[in-house]
């Protein structure tokens, strides 16, 4: 005979407001097999848990039902409490009377009835629960970091310094990310490259970091502690082992007019290129879409259209025949740090639902540029060697208008969120501009100035008070060109007057969006993302760097708009989490996995076909003489995620999901029907 204990939680007012906890406890106490039933204000609190432990010992309970919040919230808490009192934790279950009941209903009477129903069916389930043992699996003590921007670099260095091996995968030919493109950084105006490049070199030279630049994650299998990652190393067309980075091939390259990605289109590069002189690794890549040799081959030319780089290379490193290679690595944890893209102001948008600003003339007026382009103009390594010169005619602009919130906070454009960094970098831009062009006028159109961060408010005030930036609160409705003047028509909402400015250049602080293709990567990793494509953290406050897939962590601007300090902090947090994970010999996993009854299994392998995780294997059943009787399905408990698809599919009912057996589920349904 079962001796079930029922514990009804009021969750303060959360449940208590609409559900009569005392009555629920009383009603459930009358059920056959229930030996104990009480209610309490906060069951998850220390005295609440003590109540459960005490009852388990005193009343010799064989099962526990906690009618409270979602199991997502506190199942672990209560199972730990049950285990503390000597009960197998899997004999403790939760009835969700908060999210499924009190929060969504108003009628107290009906809600209380429903809470009793929900409690009753979990009681029926727990009567049929069996003790389960935690599964223990080994941990591969290596981490994969996806993305070589500042977040990825920081995570890789911290993990490697902590003693674990790291594989750092970067899509572009060099690590460094957006931070390497920046001129100075707020709020200290220290040089971005000066603080970043030493870290890049450190990554390259670290004995425990394996850098795979110009590579992408192709597929991921497995689970926490035991991921198998297939990585595509894109063909550089240059043998990394032979190249010494002398640069002769780039000088020889005849295609010199490719818009430089690093200079945000303001400068040119060759088809054989390293993105920037401080690149790590300093090994060039052939852009095959632009290279004369490859374009010639694509057109079916028999003769080689070019080959100057190959001729120029003294070490024979240029290899036109190189192809993409695939390598498979085993890792125990993964950090997603793929960073951001800038929202495109023009008509062409990479994601559906996002609209551009046709009225700002971006893309048609050369002197209307975005924030990243201004960074390149202001950067000593940029196309103008740090002189602020406008793109159209190379003249020094005497009046620059900066527009904040271009895309950001504009639901009409499909981006509701604040991009966080723009207020700060626009203030920085006005300062950089005024430091370089003393008689220049900087006007900023803003909605709000959001400067929450250490030293941030002081920084934006400095832009106004010391460097004379003029802030106009309002939006710009139109930008057009008359002669060499860029006309800006806006509205000053504090004065209530229209403002027309004849500018020499306009800088748009465009919204931050997740990197293009993030959805595909997220699906590969089975992590969820929001409607903009930002990776979802497991809990917005308490688990900010974990994802909903165990063993996959997130850092930097791929999770939300982030500045450098935030990205670095997140990256170090992922490193701490991963090093903590790697400190275990074995990992414990929930035993709620599928199990096959070999006696019943007919070997149809429907389960194998439907399993999303590839957990179903073939097992041979032999008699004592070793003769093969049949081949049946078998579930690898390390891979199984307990989704139950196989159980639902099995025609002979020979697969059971532990903790969710047919018997248990039917008992719940019957309890509801009676």
């Amino acid at each position: 005979m079962s001796r079930i204990g029922v514990f009804v939680c009021h969750c303060g007012e959360n449940i208590g407001r609409t559900v009569d906890g005392a009555r629920v406890a009383e009603e459930l106490g009358t059920l056959p097999g229930v030996a104990h039933s009480v209610d309490y204000k906060y069951m998850c609190s220390d005295p609440g848990q003590a109540l459960i432990k005490q009852a388990i010992t005193d009343k010799r309970l064989t099962g526990v039902v906690v009618a409270a919040c979602s199991p997502h919230m506190h199942e672990k808490t209560f199972r730990r409490a049950a285990a503390g009192a000597g009960l197998n934790p899997f004999l403790c279950e939760m009835a969700n009377i908060r999210e499924h009941c009190s929060w969504i209903h108003e009628d107290r009477e009906a809600a209380t009835e429903k809470a009793i129903d929900l409690g009753r069916l979990i009681v029926e389930k727990v009567k049929r629960n069996v003790p389960l043992e935690t599964i223990r699996i080994p941990v591969e003590r290596r981490a994969l970091v996806i993305g070589g921007g500042i977040a990825g670099i920081q995570a890789a260095l911290d993990i490697a310094d902590g003693g674990a091996e790291v594989i750092l995968v970067e899509k572009e030919p060099s690590i460094g990310g957006h931070m390497s493109q920046l001129s100075e950084t707020f709020p200290t105006l220290d040089c971005s490259q000066c603080i970043l490049t030493p870290r890049m070199v450190e990554v390259y030279q670290h004995p425990r970091i394996k850098l795979m630049a110009y590579s992408e994650v192709d597929s991921v299998e497995g689970y926490i502690g035991n991921f198998r990652v297939r990585i595509r190393q894109k063909a550089r067309s240059v043998d990394e082992t032979k190249c010494n980075g002398c640069g002769a091939c780039q000088k020889a390259c005849i295609v010199k007019n490719v818009p430089s990605e690093f200079d945000a289109g303001l400068g040119k590069r060759t088809a054989m290129y390293v993105p920037f002189p401080q690149a790590v690794p300093n090994i060039p890549v052939i852009d095959r879409d632009r290279c004369a040799y490859f374009k010639g081959k694509a057109r079916g030319m028999k003769k080689d259209a070019c080959g100057k780089c190959k001729e120029a290379c003294s070490r024979g490193a240029v290899d036109f025949t190189q192809e993409d290679r695939f390598v498979t690595e085993k890792v125990g944890a993964i950090v997603v740090a793929t960073g951001f893209d800038l929202y495109s102001v023009g008509k062409e948008q990479s994601s559906p639902g996002v609209k551009g600003y046709g009225e700002y003339g971006y893309g048609t007026i050369p002197d209307v540029i975005d924030g990243l382009q201004f960074e390149r103009l202001a950067s000593a390594s940029g196309p103008t060697a740090g002189k602020i010169l406008r793109p159209s005619d190379g003249k020094e602009p005497k009046r620059i208008v900066f527009l904040q919130c271009v895309g950001s906070r504009d639901p009409a454009k499909g981006i509701d969120y604040c991009s966080k960094v723009c207020c700060m970098y626009v203030a920085k831009h006005t300062m950089l501009y005024r430091h370089k062009v003393h008689d220049g006028e900087a006007t900023v159109f803003y909605m709000d100035v959001r400067a929450a961060g250490k030293g941030y408010e002081e920084f934006t005030r400095r832009a106004v008070e010391e460097d004379g930036a003029v802030y106009v609160r309002g939006r710009v409705s139109r930008i057009w060109r008359e002669g060499d003047v860029v006309k800006v028509l806006g509205f000053d909402t504090l004065n209530g007057t229209p403002v027309a400015i004849d500018a020499d250049m306009v800088v748009l602080a465009t919204a931050i969006k997740p990197r293009k293709g993030i959805e595909t990567l997220a699906q590969t990793l089975s992590v969820s993302y929001d409607r903009y494509g930002f990776i979802n953290e497991a809990h917005p406050k308490l688990r900010p760097v974990e994802t909903n897939t165990a063993g996959v962590f997130v850092a930097g601007a791929c999770q939300a708009p982030r500045d450098i300090p935030d990205s670095v902090a997140m990256a170090s947090a992922t490193a701490a989490k991963i090093l903590g994970l790697f400190s275990n010999e074995m990992l414990e996993r929930e035993p709620t996995v599928a199990r096959v009854d070999a006696a019943l299994c007919a070997g149809c392998f429907h389960c194998e076909r439907v399993c999303p995780y590839g957990a179903v294997e073939h097992k041979e059943i032999r008699d004592r003489k070793g003769r093969l009787l049949k081949v049946v399905a078998d579930v690898n408990p390390g891979v199984c995620q307990g989704c139950g698809t196989c159980q639902a599919t099995c025609p002979s009912k020979s697969v059971e999901l532990m903790g969710f057996t047919d018997e248990q589920i039917y008992a719940e349904v019957n309890a509801l029907a009676l």
Binding site: G356, Y357, G358, E359, T364, W480, K487
Partner: protein, 314 residues
Amino acid sequence: MRVGYYPGCSLHGTAREFDESLRAVAGPLGLELVEVDDWSCCGATSAHATNHLLSVALPARNLALAAEQGHDQVLAPCAACYNRLASARHAVASDAALAAQIPDLIGRPFPNSVTARNVVEVLREQLGTLRKKTVRPLAGLKIACYYGCLLVRPSEVCTFDDPEAPVSMEEVVAATGATAVAWNRRLDCCGGGFSLSRTGSVVRLSREILDDARAAGADAIVVACPMCHSNLDFRQGALVRRGEAELPVLFLSELVGLALGLDARTLGLERHFVSTKGFVERAMAEKPAPAPKQPPAVKPAAAPAPASAQKEAV
């Protein structure tokens, strides 16, 4: 293709040439315009400014009539009519309480099944036919496409093109062989209905538009709205009298008609206040492959006969 035709008051009055040119080009482009029987006011300006319910009910009545007469789309050449019809559809679709009132008000069911179309939208759908039927490519003529405010806005109502960076009119102009110039005031306000009450403002706004088109090198402005046409063409008279240069203002359908080989009279091009003669002559001129025409040719063509061409009025 059979299309319900809702001319509205303008096309029977000040913008007769819009009506004439549209009917003239419809045939060659494979459009059969069937005028909606018993149509009434679309509710623009007065109803729109004074009574919201009326401003929805009036266009709803016309759309309901079109539905009864078997149409699934109605062409409203006037931008204000188009805007009212489309806005009413949008208002009814997004407000169930409003939708419930309409049938009683208009004395008939309102299925909201007929789409409202404008000239630019309809002509753009016929680009292939237009290219094929163009017998007189308007090569060498530079056109400033003027959208005004009502054709592409508000964006949730007028969804056929981008509200801030539209391209549809330029596509139609390109199909006639003419060149659409890039200019700044394509979407600015012409003064609209203030033509009589605040003439000074309208003249000032119109002049900014005309000056910008001229600065962009346009030989003519093309519009798809009777109100814009009236402000840019009629009010330009005042500027011309002060000695400013003329810039012909054509309806899009007139330009298309010229490319289709129709004559100026059929298209109503003689009804304009600002002479279209020089422009028409250039359009009609046989153009051998290399275009020998010099850009300054615009001025002498416009200069000789400013008075004689301004015959027709309301």
